[in-house]
């Protein structure tokens, strides 16, 4: 695709195909585990690093 065309509609270009799925999985992986401490769901605290890990796994898988 020409650079000028990309510039007109840039925000969603190049998004990894698994991105939305990874975003959901970063929370849903522990749906059945009831991981709560002092009233706080641990999965919400771990979402950011988990998202990083899952994206790396998917990227590696898709590059392989």
């Amino acid at each position: 695709m020409a650079a000028t065309q990309e510039a007109q509609d840039p925000l969603e270009k190049g998004a990894a195909q698994w991105q939305e799925r990874a975003r959901g999985l970063a929370i849903s992986w522990a749906d059945q585990l009831d991981l709560v401490y002092l009233g706080v769901p641990l999965v919400r605290l771990l979402e950011y690093p988990m998202l990083d890990v899952i994206n790396r796994l998917y990227e590696k898988h898709h590059d392989a």
Binding site: A7, Q19, L33, L42, L45, E47, Y48, L57
Partner: protein, 390 residues
């Protein structure tokens, strides 16, 4: 005399400008110990470290609970816990990474929560202020406070120049009360909030603290009349995945070098704080190979922005807003997945970078739509906090 109430803060440096004014009304309890130490060095009174409330008993209790939570995850793995039914190869690898990842992350998070619990039990804060809403640290404060009926406030540490209403993690809102820099940020989040400006940029309006262009250039050894470009780098985060990641950044860097060489420019590489230390060497080698003269720096951004005839940002960086505040023209070198709004700086994928640099002009409209209360945001932000945390 009634003691000041306690305000709990995550401790982001973008809110540092607010600390002295907040300390006049509150005793500040910081989750980030380095921030607490810095606040102490600034001479502020009544500074507390939230981790300082953690005694041995609570610490051990949190570690034990973390062990039991890890056991729960291990048991789930043995019973066939699946990450993604559609990708069996990933599921089979889970036992190799999940146990250690979970144990380390959960233990740190639970010890932190125990410290917050101890602090809140003893000091009963009247509010929580965070600068981001994604990391384990900030969420521990916000989620715990919400669970205990303590007001939670979020003044973001940066604009996210992503698609509005994106599902990117940075668009998630956990805190109850939001404040924004101005029109753009309020529209981006799309929720009610208060437009207070950006306290961390107030000082850019106080000229006495900013070097003139002439002094900045002399200080960096730039020969008079030399075209000077500042390249604000970025780093690749894996919370979103666009394009080819680090390869895209390297391609853009080569474009930057090519443009600097064509323009016979002095190139200041202003590194992103998140970049690894060995990147400095990488930039140095690139400049030597391309025979481009210049400097590489991580701190003192204002010198790099003031000395430049044009600032080239790798992706839509908040450094570009700082440059625009100082009246320095900005060009965006595009990267996938993020973009300044159409009324922001002009941009390119790189093939016409030289022409974009030469045509770039200051953009006060960009600043106006990004930032309310220029130079006076600290006052407005503190007022916002005081209106809620009583």
């Amino acid at each position: 005399m009634t003691p000041k109430p306690i305000l709990a803060l995550a401790g982001g440096h973008t809110q540092k400008a607010m600390w002295p004014a907040l300390a006049e009304h509150y005793r500040l309890a910081f989750l980030d110990t380095a921030a607490a130490n810095l606040a102490g060095e600034m001479g502020l009174e009544g500074i507390m470290r939230i981790e300082g409330f953690l005694d041995g008993e609570r610490f051990n209790q949190a570690k034990n609970e973390a062990m039991w939570a890890s056991e729960k995850v291990m048991a789930a793995l043995k019973n066939g816990l699946v990450l993604d039914h559609a990708v069996p190869e990933l599921n089979s690898k889970m036992p190799k990474w999940l146990p250690l990842f979970f144990r380390d992350q959960a233990e740190a998070a639970m010890v932190r929560l125990a410290a917050v619990d101890a602090c809140f039990a003893k000091e009963k804060p009247v509010g929580v202020l965070v600068h981001e809403d994604v990391t384990s640290e900030s969420r521990a404060l916000v989620l715990y406070a919400k669970e205990h009926g303590v007001p939670t406030l979020h003044l973001p540490h940066a604009n996210h120049f992503l698609k509005a209403r994106t599902t990117d993690i940075h668009s998630q809102i956990t805190a109850e009360h939001m404040a924004f820099y101005g029109e753009y940020m309020a529209d981006w989040y799309g929720v009610p909030g208060t437009r207070v400006g950006a306290p961390q940029w107030d000082w850019l309006y106080h000229d006495i603290k900013i070097p003139t262009k002439e002094i900045a250039r002399r200080g960096m050894g730039i020969v008079d009349g030399t075209k000077t470009l500042t390249y604000a780098t970025t780093w690749f985060q894996m919370t979103s995945v666009f394009g080819k990641g680090a390869d895209d950044l390297e391609a853009a860097w080569l474009r930057m070098l090519e443009a600097a060489k064509t323009l016979k420019a002095f190139l200041i590489v202003k590194m992103h704080p998140g970049e690894q230390a060995n990147q400095e060497k990488h930039y140095e080698e690139g400049m030597k190979k391309a025979e481009v003269h210049g400097a590489i720096m991580r701190q003192n951004t204002e010198w790099a922005l003031r000395a430049a005839d044009c600032v080239i940002v790798q992706g839509p960086s908040n450094v570009g807003v700082e440059a625009a505040i100082l009246g320095t023209p900005v060009v965006e070198l595009y990267q996938y997945g993020a973009r300044y709004p159409e009324w922001g700086p002009s941009g390119t994928w790189g093939e016409d970078l030289v022409q974009k640099i030469e045509a770039a002009t200051p953009n006060p409209e960009f600043v106006r739509r990004i930032l309310d209360h220029p130079g006076e945001a600290t006052e407005h932000a503190v007022e916002w906090v005081r209106g809620i945390c009583k």
